[in-house]
């Protein structure tokens, strides 16, 4: 049951554009930023330059708690691209305490121990290119 606990998943670098550069720059510092609409205060996901609720183009950033819980997950046994030889890994949506459900991986535990509702906290896996992937590990009790 310990397989996967210390195994490193691939960390392919995302394509970064000016619109999303603050998000990725923060990840490299171990911080999770969320876009928030300056007009209607809606928290936005995924990061983008427009508020999908009110249409405002005035978007700011707020720092997230980094905690949430697993909304759904799968143990994916056949990867593609950078994950072709990764072995089994957990793909999940985590519902952040701030609201958005974000696609991610669950790490730091055996895939068999992941459950819907599991409390998790963000960890940051360096891509080596000025960004880090935001993954989640179980909150220690």
């Amino acid at each position: 049951m310990t397989e996967g606990i210390d195994r490193q998943l691939p960390s392919p670098a995302p394509a970064v554009v000016p619109e999303t550069e603050p998000f990725w720059a923060a990840t490299a510092e171990g911080r999770l930023l969320l876009p928030r609409c300056a007009a209607c205060a809606t928290v936005i996901w995924y990061p983008k330059g427009i508020c999908p609720e009110c249409g405002s183009l005035d978007i700011g950033w707020v720092e997230a708690s980094g905690e949430g819980e697993v909304y759904t997950f799968t143990v994916s046994r056949r990867g593609e691209g950078a994950y072709l030889d990764a072995g089994p890994f957990v793909l999940a949506y985590v519902e952040l305490d701030e609201g958005p459900r974000v696609m991610t991986n669950i790490v730091g535990c055996s895939p068999e121990s992941v459950r819907i509702g599991l409390r998790v906290r963000a960890v940051f896996d360096d891509t080596g290119q000025g960004s880090a992937l935001v993954r989640f590990a179980p909150v220690e009790r």
Binding site: P52, F73, G81, L84, P100
Partner: protein, 386 residues
């Protein structure tokens, strides 16, 4: 304006092959176009509207040129596997508006390159960098939906497997089916997990191939010897992640279904046969719930006891064997969904699976990925005299 009764499907043709390495993509389009026009009793010179998804960067123009078409109406709408149901609806609307009289719709090609063929994560889409870096694939994306559906509604792997079992029961009568062997629930559960809870046998086949449809005006339909199928209603609805409030337990069918039923003036109780998009077994379970064939969350119960098996089940579905067993050309199964519905309404399905006295048929297409962003389109068709 409604499209009800304003257009008829006069020609339908499914490419008989499942592996076609010796043909170019354009050649496959040509072969299915010839097949569908011959089925209708029409020729290329009759065609004044052309529909196909964009595979070339110049929409339908490239293939219109290849096929030698001179048309006054083109549409290259791409909504994944649901594209061809959308095309039928758009063709009917264009005909109803007087823009054209004979619309040709084609799909053709080879299945996508093998997994692992390099693609930089997320390049070119705004969402990609926040998803693809985590290893999302088509299968594991659908698995996210299956897991949550099980959690919320108690759906089981055995219930998912029943969908595949029913499809395989139909495929045994289709000599063109890629997988003609009947399988059991136990065999589905014993097949390798690709992304749990989805097994290999919960997944559709991957095939080369194609198909074509000819949609005509009522005036043209009257001149044809061929039995036509009446277009009664169509709905289309994209569904996406809704600003981080993604809910993977339902599909866009919750919107496209009511639109199509309202336009057609029928209800689920009137549907004699349904082609339900079956990229994965979970796709079918969620879709039949969302279309209203059963209560939300009860799709797993609905498919038990041969519920989907023709002609005796509660809802005879995918009598060609569907994408799960027969054919899923170019990963876009919407075309074959319409074609089998046409066969049923003409009384030309395989005798063992023909629904007796089939008057109203539904075809539903999905596209993209159920747990992120997807296209949905529902088409309601009736017999010529419906």
């Amino acid at each position: 304006m409604s499209i009800r009764g304003q257009a008829f499907i006069a020609g339908a043709y499914e490419h008989p092959r499942r592996k076609i390495p010796d043909r170019s993509v354009a050649q496959i389009h040509a072969e299915v176009a010839v097949g569908a026009l011959a089925d209708a009793g029409l020729s290329f010179s009759d065609v004044d509207a052309y529909f196909t998804v964009d595979q070339t960067g110049l929409g339908a123009i490239t293939l219109a040129e290849y096929l030698g078409l001179k048309v006054s109406y083109i549409d290259s709408t791409l909504t994944g596997g649901s594209s061809y149901l959308v095309h039928v609806g758009h063709a009917a609307a264009a005909i109803a508006a007087g823009k054209c009289n004979v619309a040709l719709i084609t799909l053709g090609g080879h299945v996508r390159p093998a997994p692992g063929v390099g693609r930089a994560p997320g390049v070119g889409t705004p969402h990609g960098p926040f998803e693809e870096v985590y290893g999302v694939t088509t299968v594991n994306n659908y698995a996210l939906a299956a897991r949550r559906h099980m959690y919320e509604f108690g759906t089981t792997s055995e219930q998912l497997a029943e969908v595949k079992v029913a499809a395989s029961h139909h495929a045994q009568y289709n000599p063109d089916a890629l997988l003609p062997n009947v399988v059991t629930v136990e065999e589905v559960l014993a097949s390798p997990l690709v992304a749990d809870p989805l097994h290999r046998l919960d997944s559709c086949v991957m095939t080369d191939g194609g198909g074509a449809l000819v949609v005509v005006s009522p005036a043209v339909a009257k001149t044809l010897d061929r039995t036509c199928v009446k277009v009664l209603g169509q709905g289309e609805a994209p569904k996406h992640t809704m600003n981080g409030r993604v809910d993977v337990t339902y599909t866009g069918a919750v919107w496209s279904g009511p639109m199509a039923f309202a336009e057609a003036g029928v209800t689920v109780a009137d549907v004699d046969y349904a082609s339900i998009y079956d990229s994965f077994t979970i796709t079918v379970i969620e879709t039949i719930e969302d279309l209203g064939f059963c209560e939300k969350g009860r799709g797993g119960d609905f498919v038990l006891d041969g519920g989907l098996i023709s002609p005796t089940g509660r809802l005879p579905f995918n009598t060609d064997g569907g994408g799960l067993c027969n054919n899923h050309p170019v990963n876009q199964g919407g075309m074959t969904k319409v074609i089998e519905a046409v066969r049923q309404l003409r009384g030309e399905a395989r005798p063992e699976v023909q629904v007796p006295d089939c008057e109203i048929a539904l075809a539903h297409g999905s596209g993209g990925r159920i747990s992120s962003r997807m296209g949905s389109s529902t088409l309601v068709l009736g017999r010529e005299d419906a």
